[in-house]
Amino acid sequence: MLEPIMYTGGVYRHDELIELVEDLGGHVLQKNVMQLEVVLLILVPADDITAVEEKAKELLGTINRAPLIGTEIAVVAPSLAYHHMPHPTCDIAEYLRRNGAKTNIIGLARGVGRRAAQMTKSERGLINEHDLALFILGDFLSCIVDVKYQLYEDLEVPVIVTGGPECDAVPYAYAYIGGIGRRAKGFHRESEFTILDSIVEKISTALDQRREELEKDPLSVSPFRLMDEITQQIPEVNENLSPTPITMHLDGMRIKLPFDEYCKKVKNVKLTEGPILSDVAEVRPSYMREYIILKIKTKSVAGFAL
């Protein structure tokens, strides 16, 4: 069991922590250096977490549990107009990032209103590439309950909806969180942070459920191990300037390399046990730019597990 944690500390000697994590069999998913500060998103075996905590203390850094590490979440707003931006959409996305998630804000082309609200095929495809979709809806209960579910009823990923009015549940959504709606101000009060925390909590439970489902028919190879193999065998991936050249999903990853050029290379990545990557994962073009999406086959599909 890997524990997701976020390390914040100085740049000086932070490589010692990275080495420790790698020695313990953990993974460093993201490293952000901001002048003299460094933020690391890491996964450490739960039994060895005290060793990492001690090291962090020695380096005068801090360690926080960030439950959403290793997931990519789509924060979907009906549009990118000032009715939804920067509050609440960006605020929520930022809060999820602070809890370790990689978030993408998606503004729908025709998500506004009642009569015209719809989602295009490419938008649906893009959202389905994520681990979870969080919809930021408005102030009126009848819109949220009776109409807007049309936007997400066909999605394959779990959907969590936020809106203004209080309500127990909305159709087709895993959970609904009220008290947000359309806002023209940021989240400042403690009660508002409680709402943000409840979003993180709901997302964590939805993702845990997805993890449990995956455990019933486990993946043929751990996505983190596959990530390490890809970074070693295709060094070009590290030349990408994106903060996460490989963005992890629960059952795969997004590799930020052009599909046409690197598809073959990725498919031919060798695993030490013998099989190549295309035996254990499905490689396809992403709806996002020209990136590559990799979905790991389950044990029943691949016929074996490494």
């Binding site: 009906p78 009715h83 209103g113 009569r115 015209a116 009126f140 203004g164 209080e166 101000k185």
Partner: protein
């Protein structure tokens, strides 16, 4: 800040009405029009769908003329304008360029502008605060109205604004409802 009696929202959806009221306060203070638009009455029904807003407009500052911003003196190099109020230099230059062309204007430093003419320039209005205020008020109302409501009918008089928006073509009964709000507000 504006006081709480300034906004009254009616809607069949009570929770929605309360949220729209809060949003209205925030948008108005964000765009600095809280003192300019007051006695606001809103009717919103997402099932119709319609959004009607009535608000009273406060008076704005008088128009700014060239003489308010600069003093003119004739020199050998042409007409010299000494800028008194730098806040409106952009508008002043835009007006001069419009009238005399870019080639005939020379701004030698922050506070001095030369115009290649021997005659006095007419004392024209260069900035209308009332227009700026209306622009801000309309901007704030469009931020308050639901985004999908793209069909808009509005009426701006000297001291009030009536704004009706919907997803469907505007119905006569909504316009009547708007006038009813006007009546309630005592216009």
């Amino acid at each position: 800040m504006i006081d709480s009696e300034k906004v009254a929202v009616k809607s069949p959806d009570e929770q929605g009405a309360h949220l729209i009221e809060e949003l209205t306060y925030d948008v108005l203070s964000d765009l600095h029009v809280a003192q300019s638009l007051y006695n606001i009455r809103i009717f919103v029904d997402p099932d119709e769908p319609v959004f009607i807003l009535y608000g009273k407009l406060a008076g704005s500052l008088p128009d700014i003329k060239i003489s308010d911003v600069a003093t003119m003196t004739h020199t050998d190099d042409g007409l010299k304008l000494d800028v008194k109020n730098e806040r409106y230099v952009n508008e002043l230059l835009a007006k001069l360029i419009e009238n005399y062309g870019k080639a005939n204007i020379l701004q030698i430093d922050r506070y001095t502008v030369l115009v290649a003419t021997d005659e006095d320039i007419p004392d024209e209005t260069i900035y209308e605060p009332s227009i700026e205020l209306r622009r801000k008020v309309i901007d704030s109302i469009r931020r308050i109205a639901p985004e999908g409501y793209r069909i808009i009918k509005h009426e701006i008089a000297k001291n009030h604004i009536l704004f009706i928006a919907s997803e469907e073509p505007i119905k006569e009964q909504w316009v009547q409802k708007g006038y009813q709000l006007l009546k309630e507000a005592g216009v």
